[in-house]
Amino acid sequence: MPQADSTRTIVRDGIAVGVATGAYGISFGAVSVAAGLDVWQTCVLSLLMFTGASQFALVGVVSSGGAAGVAALTALLLGTRNTLYGLRISPLVGWRGWRRFAAAHLVIDESAAMTATRTSREHARAGFLSTGVTIFALWNLATLAGAVAGEALGDPRAYGLDAAVGGAFLALLWPRLTTTSNRVAAVLGAAVAVSLVELTPAGVPVLAAAVVALGLGLIRRDAP
């Protein structure tokens, strides 16, 4: 019951979500250096891009041998959902000027989820800031720790770090598989990608799968 939450409760919940989420920056740091990025590049990604799925996608394409431009495009496509979160959050928090520019950087899955259900501006801002700031601080610290540890470990395959990326993507996908149409879309996307693996340069199969999303979105306009 969001109405019953006090600002203090909202901040506490936001920090809890932030700690849980920020910690997995460790896996991003380790996976990124395993993909061949150096520690600096890994840390700049977490500071500048700061949206987990796009970061994992970028290093995933790089590790499968994709071109840098294809990796960047895949990350940007996944980043488009943050645009929609921003549209939802903006009227709730009501920031203008430099505050809006600063707040935009913190617009990610978790901060959006902790803000979107609030019924007052004070509560929306409390949810957004407590979640966003906690994740930003911890995600970046954890990225550095994971990257340094990953470099010290040596061959990533011996520790199964190449399989960790697939696991991370599956964990990001899982909560979205609640509707039949999303499940169908996921299966089609995977099928398109697999069918193109041997026919196109690395990274292209994933972008081609985005066409499936566009097609389904245009056909099924009445879907929930």
Binding site: A35, A68, R81, G86, A168, L172, A185, A186, A190
Partner: protein
């Protein structure tokens, strides 16, 4: 990974967030925009999983391969069914693949 592509992707992701905070809400309310925006992450993540797990590097470019990474993915799915948190899922995937390679 080149610094140019990395910085462009990072700045681009920020601008996508800023655009959402700055654009009138009626764009968002268009049903096709909503539907596509909902499906893009689903389709891309599914495609990324498929490529990440089944592509290997052959002499003539990428090839379809089945190896320990599939064991890792199945272990991750099992962890998710048991409602394990994200970091545990990732760890289980890595551990299962590492063990499969040892056997």
């Amino acid at each position: 990974m080149t610094w140019g592509a990395l910085l462009a992707a990072g700045v681009g992701c920020y601008l996508l967030k800023l655009a959402g905070m700055s654009v009138p809400e009626k764009v968002h309310d268009h049903p096709v925009v909503r539907r596509v925006a909902d499906l893009i992450p689903v389709v891309l993540l599914a495609a990324l999983i498929a490529v990440q797990v089944f592509s290997g590097s052959g002499a003539n470019g990428p090839t379809l391969t089945v190896d320990a990474r599939l064991v890792g993915l199945l272990a991750a799915a099992a962890a998710l069914v048991l409602r394990a948190p994200f970091i545990v899922v990732v760890f289980v995937a890595a551990l299962a693949a590492a063990l499969a390679r040892l056997l």
